[in-house]
């Protein structure tokens, strides 16, 4: 009897969170799958149409472009972000006066809202903005108007994402550096390993779990990019900066194609799941614990 009372109390503690989880996360996961097999505009009754939404995606050009843009975005931003973050983490680990102030400043872009960051950079990327002023200073006679160019708008958005996330990843990697055992460096030094070799054979393997974490969260985040695109380009010019979440948002909340948008969100979910599972599998080859 006492035991049941105990269980009851435990479930009481759990209840607020569990109800929220069931209603606002678990049920929507199932419902989203159901909606993806339907045609629904939010007003008229929901109509079951089987696999049609998914079939339509195969021939939907905008979806294809968004997916390719997103893959390109991920393939470029994640590796560059991680590489720069490792460099920055190494710099942050140097013991000089005032280093704490530098760390505080480096982290700054990450706490500011993406929408604000996007607005600032959109202004900076205009034809006569500071980016082009700097380029002219270094001799570019005719710098482009970035966000109006179908080939440069996406790279501009990617630059902003990299700029925003390097500080965050560097802080995590910096914390990881503290955990690399000092004896390993001493042993490597005794073996005559130079700085570069020590970095390659001690620092990198020691950091690999943290790097892995950064890669996984970086990939997940890059498939969810939205705010920056909204503030900088709204998917344009043309469809050159259209990404998945932007297209899902437009289909659902601008054009009221809730069924089709649900199918796209499920595809997004499955992509993230697959990429994450692949990474979990591959990590055994390069992550050392």
């Amino acid at each position: 009897m006492l035991r049941f009372k105990q269980y009851g109390i435990a479930y009481l503690f759990l209840a607020p969170s569990l109800i929220g989880l069931l209603v606002f996360i678990l049920y929507p996961i199932v419902d989203s799958l159901y909606l993806s097999f339907t045609k629904w505009d939010g007003l008229t009754p929901i109509k079951w149409i089987g696999l049609d939404n998914y079939r339509d995606l195969l021939t939907d050009d905008t979806f294809k472009i968004s997916l390719i843009n997103n893959l390109y975005y991920t393939a470029v931003t994640v590796p560059i972000t991680i590489a720069l973050s490792i460099l920055l983490a190494l710099v942050m680990n140097v013991k000089v006066r005032g280093i704490k102030t530098f760390r505080v400043l480096y982290f700054f872009p990450n706490i500011t809202a993406s929408i604000a960051v996007g607005i600032i950079w959109a202004a900076m990327f205009t034809q006569y903005g500071p980016i082009n002023t700097i380029l002219r200073f270094f001799g570019a006679s005719n710098p482009p108007s970035w966000l109006a160019s179908t080939s440069l708008a996406l790279p501009a958005v990617m630059m902003v994402s990299i700029w925003k996330s390097v500080g965050y990843n560097a802080v995590i990697l910096f914390a990881g550096l503290q955990g690399v055992p000092r004896q390993l460096y001493e042993a490597a030094e005794l073996d005559g390993a130079g700085r570069f070799k020590r970095f390659l054979h001690v620092t990198l393997p020691g950091l690999s779990p943290v790097i892995f974490f950064s890669v996984v969260t970086g990939v997940i985040g890059s498939f969810q990019v939205f705010d920056t695109v909204m503030a900088m380009t709204q998917g344009g010019p043309g469809r050159s900066t259209n990404v998945l979440v932007y297209y899902i948002y437009n289909s659902a909340f601008q054009n009221y194609h809730f069924g089709a948008a649900s199918a796209m969100s499920y595809v997004l979910f499955v992509i993230i799941l697959i990429v994450t599972l692949i990474q979990l599998r591959v990590q055994k080859r390069w992550v050392t614990y």
Partner: protein, 289 residues
């Protein structure tokens, strides 16, 4: 750069020329990164005090010859900034308080209480952390529509209330607290709720503060959810407010930058006040800010 970097070996013995050179180079590097990080914000501030004609004419002149403070009051006369602040404060404070309560209760159950299905449920919480929010936003919207909460702040607050990540983070913290504390309190006749409120919560202050700050930051900076749920201008949050202002004022960059600057002020203040928690919290938990 791999130098002191990562090696954790502090080579500050002696003041030879080589040491001075190395320190100088380190500072140059630190400063370059600092400039790249901070310049966009400085440029924003500077641009917000210029006028349409001068902002791009001398786009790298960081100190405007005649600072145009009226830009700031102009923003206030064009949009109800005060209302946007109050809306954001309401949404962020309520959702942060709610998520701290629901997450700490559930975390306590998982960490300190025994009940059937405990480990399976916890695994479920972990699994849902992988679901991208965008994959479930359409069913969430339809739930809110059924509850008649679209175009209210409650929709945003409810969606922020249940954070599987918060449960996970706090559980990790609670589990480290010595079990004897609970036992002796129980023998003294203290109820489970009493133990939770009087013993566990006070001890968990650092973890609660970390989670609180990130939750606050998350809802303060959120853009997509308000965009989906709020169509009444009076209900806009600050992120929607600046985006709305950007749309209204197209190319009036000084005004847009003044609005953006104002949207960042509260977050910058919170950050400077609590940066220790931000950086340590991020480093320890890897929460995405």
């Amino acid at each position: 750069m791999e130098m002191a970097a990562g090696e954790g070996v502090n080579k500050t013995i002696g003041f030879g020329g080589k040491q001075v050179l190395r320190t100088t180079l380190t500072y140059i590097l630190l400063l370059i990164v600092c400039i790249v990080t901070v310049l966009p914000f400085v440029w924003m501030l500077s641009g917000s005090l210029k006028n349409q004609a001068t902002i791009f004419q001398h786009s790298m002149q960081l100190i405007p010859t005649q600072p145009l403070w009226s830009n700031y009051s102009d923003v206030w006369s064009k949009i109800p900034f005060g209302t946007f602040y109050l809306n954001t404060i309401k949404v962020s404070v309520l959702s942060t308080a709610g998520s701290l309560i629901s997450a700490s209760l559930a975390a306590y159950a998982f960490a300190k209480l025994k009940f059937p299905g405990s480990s399976k449920l916890f695994l479920l919480y972990l699994a849902t952390m992988m679901i991208p929010g965008q994959a479930i936003m359409i069913p969430q919207f339809s739930i809110m529509k059924h509850l008649d909460l679209v175009n209210t702040h409650w929709a945003l607050i409810l969606l922020h209330l249940f954070s599987p990540y918060g449960v996970f983070l706090l559980r990790q913290f609670f589990i480290q607290l010595p079990h004897d504390l609970n036992e002796s309190a129980r023998i003294d006749g203290c109820s489970e709720f009493g133990i939770f409120f009087r013993i566990v919560l006070p001890l968990a202050k650092p973890a609660l503060v970390t989670l609180g700050i990130f939750s606050l930051l998350g809802s303060w900076n959120d853009f997509l959810q308000p965009l989906i749920y709020l169509s009444n201008e009076k209900l806009y949050t600050i992120q929607m407010g600046i985006r709305y202002f950007q749309q209204l004022n197209g190319a009036d960059y000084p005004l847009i930058l003044a609005a953006t600057t104002m949207s960042l002020v509260p977050i910058i203040l919170i950050y400077l006040f609590a940066q220790r928690f931000f950086i340590e919290g991020i480093a320890v938990t890897g929460i995405k800010g």
